[in-house]
């Protein structure tokens, strides 16, 4: 295998390597120096996926999809810290889509196998994703229905214009490059640390993680109720804000 040596690179590749090295290091170090506490909290949320992968180990879809859900969140932190906010958002959208698929596939094993084989049957019916149009499928699930009932209108996740719907739209907008989300500007040709963009991404990241742990708790209600008390407490406490902790407990009849 050829050894990597900068001096062996052709001229344009060498330039690519040098500029990438510099902007990556500058953005990474600035982000970590100024936002280490935020980043630390965000990383700690990732540990919650260990509880889920342990508990859902007998569910094929979970075994395949939880590592991917974890990795999307993990990589999103990397992208944001490199100043690549568009791609950081792209990873978050992928994370959200994958968790929605997980809830769906855990109840649709045949479709999961089709999907693993690359079959996109839902596209033939002009469905945007495996679960169908919008989020109707999820609102039919008993636990989610109970949860939505328990939430005030502006805190609901799935109804028209509710939290997940809005978050998904926001992420899509940043991915499909509405001008305000361009990563290049007349005064910025290379990716650069941007306090405003980073703060917006942190908010979105935290929101998405909350929705994900709510979805997993409701989508795998029996498994969630069967967790050790300490683990359940961690998911509720670290994974979601207080308002939703109470609504999840209410929807699932948890009294502790």
């Amino acid at each position: 295998m050829p050894r990597f040596r900068v001096s062996n690179l052709p001229s344009e590749t060498k330039r690519l390597h040098e500029s990438q090295n510099i902007w990556r290091r500058k953005n990474w170090e600035k982000t970590l120096a100024e936002h280490k506490d935020d980043i630390e909290k965000m990383i700690q949320k990732l540990n919650l996926f260990d509880i889920w992968s342990n508990k859902l180990q007998n569910i094929d879809a979970a075994k395949t999809l939880i590592p991917e859900i974890f990795m999307d969140a993990y990589i999103s932190i990397h992208f944001a810290s490199y100043g690549l906010y568009k791609y950081a958002n792209m990873s978050l959208r992928s994370e959200l889509e994958t968790v929605l698929r997980l809830v769906y596939f855990s109840r649709h094993e045949v479709e999961f196998k089709w999907w693993l084989d690359g079959d996109e049957w839902y596209r033939e019916e002009r469905m945007p994703d495996v679960w169908g149009r919008r989020y109707v499928y999820f609102t039919k699930l008993k636990e989610i229905k109970e949860f939505e009932k328990a939430c005030e209108t502006h805190m609901k996740l799935f109804s028209e214009d509710a939290k997940i719907v809005k978050a998904y739209k926001k992420l899509s907008k940043s991915i499909h490059s509405s001008a305000e989300h361009f990563q290049t500007r007349p005064d910025r040709v290379s990716p650069r640390y941007d306090l405003g963009e980073l703060k917006r991404w942190i908010d979105v990241y935290n929101g998405i993680q909350t929705y994900i742990h709510i979805l997993l708790s409701l989508g795998f209600a029996e498994e969630f109720k069967d967790l050790k008390k300490g683990e359940r407490k961690k998911i509720l406490g670290r994974g979601m804000e207080e308002y939703y902790q109470e609504r999840v407990k209410e929807a699932l009849g948890i009294t502790e």
Binding site: L46, D50, Q57, P67
Partner: protein, 246 residues
């Protein structure tokens, strides 16, 4: 170097490596350049010196080493070192052996299994050691079921203030039926063990019975009970055996 690193170094130098070397000589006598033993090791990103030493001592090659850490973030950090074939993340080893479908099943059998539970940030709760021991038995059963000739098995745990229930260890073990096996004998030993020295005796006794239960011959046993951990959370006990299928 921290005390905990010094303790692991002691285990590696005085027990794990000698056991691995001996198993290599025993089971791969004709492989002179590298023993190419397949290894599973529960380890972490702070100290994985056993991996480096096993490769350096030509007991194995990096492509034959499979790491394990229950925390996904730690496993990724470990994997980023590129010292092993892969690192299995995101689940306790004890829980993984409860299922037939975990990816690690495809990798069994191993020649050296280093079940160092002390590397996994264990919680100090009642029932921890009982669960670890149950997973040790399931590991032996799995290995034997795959017709291995022999293996080196190392079990390492933290002995803390939590009691160990021999009754629970017995009921877990007796739940795994083996023809003509009368069940784990715990007569004459404490049913709840609180003293650390008693715990080491009981654990060794259970290991010896497992070896009989699965019709194996014990070629070699080594054990180390270390000094107290620096944070006062207990001590480390490591027990290693080389087993040969009879």
């Amino acid at each position: 170097m921290s005390d905990i690193a010094a303790i692991k170094d002691q285990l590696i130098d005085e027990m794990w490596l000698p056991i691995a070397r001996e198993a290599g000589k025993k089971f791969r006598p004709h492989q002179m350049i590298n023993k190419k033993m397949k290894v599973l090791t529960l380890t972490n990103d702070k100290n994985f010196r056993e991996v480096i030493e096993l490769v350096r001592n030509k007991i194995t090659k990096k492509d034959l080493i499979y790491g394990w850490h229950k925390a996904r973030l730690t496993a990724y950090r470990l994997d980023s070192e590129g010292k092993m074939a892969t690192v299995f993340p995101g689940m306790t080893y004890e829980d993984s052996v409860e299922t037939d479908t975990h990816e690690i099943r495809k990798e069994f059998p191993f020649d050296i299994i280093n079940l160092d539970f002390s590397s996994q940030n264990p919680e100090t709760v009642n029932g921890r050691i009982e669960k670890e021991i149950c997973s040790v038995e399931k590991t032996i059963k799995l290995q034997v079921g795959l017709n291995v000739n022999g293996m080196a098995l190392i079990y390492t745990t933290i002995l803390d203030s939590a009691n160990v229930s021999m009754t629970k260890i017995k009921s877990n073990s007796d739940g795994i039926n083996i023809k003509d096996w009368p069940g784990l004998q715990i007569d004459g030993i404490l049913t709840t063990v609180s003293q650390r020295d008693d715990k080491t005796k009981c654990l060794k006794n259970v290991f010896e019975q497992f070896i009989n239960k699965y019709s194996c011959e014990n070629i070699r046993t080594m054990e180390i009970h270390t000094k107290n951990l620096p944070n006062g959370s207990g001590s480390i006990y490591s027990l290693a055996v080389i087993l040969k299928k009879v």
